[in-house]
Each structure stands twice: as structure tokens, then as C-alpha cells.
Symmetry: C2
Subunit: 172 residues, 2 copies
């Protein structure tokens, strides 16, 4: 068990699963003759983030969380995706960024103090291990699950295995 | 970083946050003169689990995941909760069970093979570290987030900090 294997592969598997959910959402929209923009703008309540923003946020939690644990400034991505294809590109860009990070640096981050923005005016501070276990991972899963829940709510036929993605599980 | 601190406190903080969400759901129902059963039976799509079952499932993911990593048979809970209070009792029972587990045993589970039921007829098998990172944690967060999302969808006034719960974060 290490800080890097509790983060990088977790984010990668989750983001790749999210990309596959976008494929299914797009196929659903085409089959039902629904403008994909309707799904991109779907939300569970008026003051919650819409689907596209949930996808962007899942990417950002993975990118920012991993970068801060690796001791590098996270790159800033514009939130300008307007299509399923553009969101998949953002996911792919995020996964590619994760692969550039120094896992040895992440593995020594448990006791390092991590400072991060909380909204426009505040900052949060946590030890690296707490930041991973109690901030980066729950926030990542929050947006990943809510993206999934929005698609399910819209009737896209997806299930738990689509959410879990390509996990290293053997079945009998 | 260890197997036990990536699991037990994560589940405890999440379950305690869930218990507080139930308080807010109950207060919301009372204020709006809504039968709390309506919230317990609320769901995001007809073939998804309702709210009460999401809460039971979050408890079970924490209980079963931790027990298997600790090398003990997870106790089986009846799924017979009918009220918010009974669900809070189940959460409290789950948190109390987590405290009985041997964290040293969990810490040596990374390479141990874990076998677990997958639906009524199948079994899954994973190394302990993979079981925690890619099965127990994502499944736990899946049900915790979906419980939250159902309440938000119903209009209960809760936010991200309610979801994160009592995390060890300092803010400035």
C-alpha cells in the first residue's frame, strides 16, 4: 500500500470508466434522437452542477489531487468543453497528465502539509495522507458518481460495472 | 499510509456524515410536512435502489470490505429498517463493528487474496490492496454519493461539506 497506488491507478480507472460512460450516453442520445446537449446540461437539482461540469470536476479532482501530492502546480484547464467528444478529450488529457507525475514523490507525501484553494477566497490545509483519503478521493468519487447518477436518471442504460471500470478482479 | 488508515477512518467519517444527512432529511420532511417514507423510498430511476437501500448498501460496503480485509466473516444485517431513526441505528451499529476490527490484521492484507460474493451466484477475487482501492472504496462512495444525490434531488438543503463530514482539514 502506498500513496501513489492509492491515487494514480484509482483515478485512471475511474476516468477511463467515465470516458466509456460518455460513449454510452452519446449512443443513447443518438438512438433516442435526443440532442446530446440535453444530457450535457442535465442536472439533479437546479443548483447542482450539470453533467458536463461533473465530468470536468472529476477530472480536476484527479489532476489537482495528484499534482499537489507530487509537489507540482496543477495545470489549469479551461472549462470550455461543449460536446461529449471534447469531454473525452479532457479526460484523456487528464489521464496523460497523471502519467507524467513522479510516483516516488507522491509516496513521500503522507506527512507533507498540502495547501489548496477552497472556493475563491479560502484555503484548506491537510497532511498529505489525510488530503488523499479524506479530500481528493471522496471529492473525485463524488463527481464521478454524480455524473453516473445523472445519466441513470436520464435513462441511459448503465450499471455498476460501468461505474467500476477495468478493475483487476477475477470472477468465478 | 497503510491499509487500515485508508479504510477504517474513511468509512467512519463517511458513515457519520451519512447519519447527519439523515438528520437533515428528517428535519426537511418535518418542515415541509412530507411523510419521511417518501424520502426513504425516493430513487433516481425506477430500477435504481431507493434511498433507504442506498444507506444500507453504504453500511454493507464498509462492514464487508473492512471485515474481509481483517480476515473475519462479516456479520449479516437484516435489511429491515423502516425509518430514519432505524437507519441511523444501522449506521451506528456498522461504525461500532468497524471499531472491533484488528487494524494490524488489515495492515497485512495488501497481498492476501480476498474472495467475496458477486450477486447471488458468482464470486470475485482480488488482492487485498486492489480490493480496497478498486472495489470496497468505490462501492462505498457510490452508495454514499447516490444517497446524497437522492436527497439533493428531493430538495433537501445539503452541500459538499455535509458529504465530506468531519474531515481533518484546517481552513484559513
Amino acid at each position: 500500500m502506498s500513496m501513489s497506488n492509492a491515487s494514480i491507478p484509482v483515478f485512471e480507472i475511474g476516468l477511463n470508466a467515465l470516458s466509456a460512460l460518455l460513449d454510452k450516453a452519446e449512443a443513447f442520445a443518438e438512438a433516442k434522437r435526443i440532442d446530446p446537449t440535453v444530457l450535457l446540461n442535465a442536472r439533479l437539482f437546479p443548483d447542482m452542477f450539470a453533467f458536463a461540469r461533473q465530468v470536468q470536476s472529476a477530472c480536476d479532482q484527479a489532476k489537482n489531487g495528484s499534482a499537489r501530492l507530487a509537489g507540482v502546480d496543477p495545470p489549469r484547464y479551461e472549462d470550455n468543453e461543449k460536446t461529449m467528444a471534447e469531454l473525452r478529450t479532457r479526460i484523456a488529457k487528464t489521464v496523460a497528465f497523471l502519467k507524467t507525475l513522479d510516483t516516488k514523490r507522491i509516496d513521500t507525501a503522507a506527512d507533507r502539509e498540502i495547501t489548496f484553494p477552497l472556493g475563491p477566497n479560502n484555503k484548506g490545509q491537510m497532511k498529505g495522507i489525510d488530503y488523499l483519503n479524506h479530500f481528493a478521493l471522496p471529492n473525485f468519487y463524488f463527481h464521478l458518481t454524480t455524473a453516473y447518477d445523472i445519466l441513470r436518471h436520464c435513462g441511459v442504460e448503465i450499471g455498476k460495472l460501468d461505474f467500476l471500470g477495468a478493475i483487476p478482479m477475477r470472477t468465478t
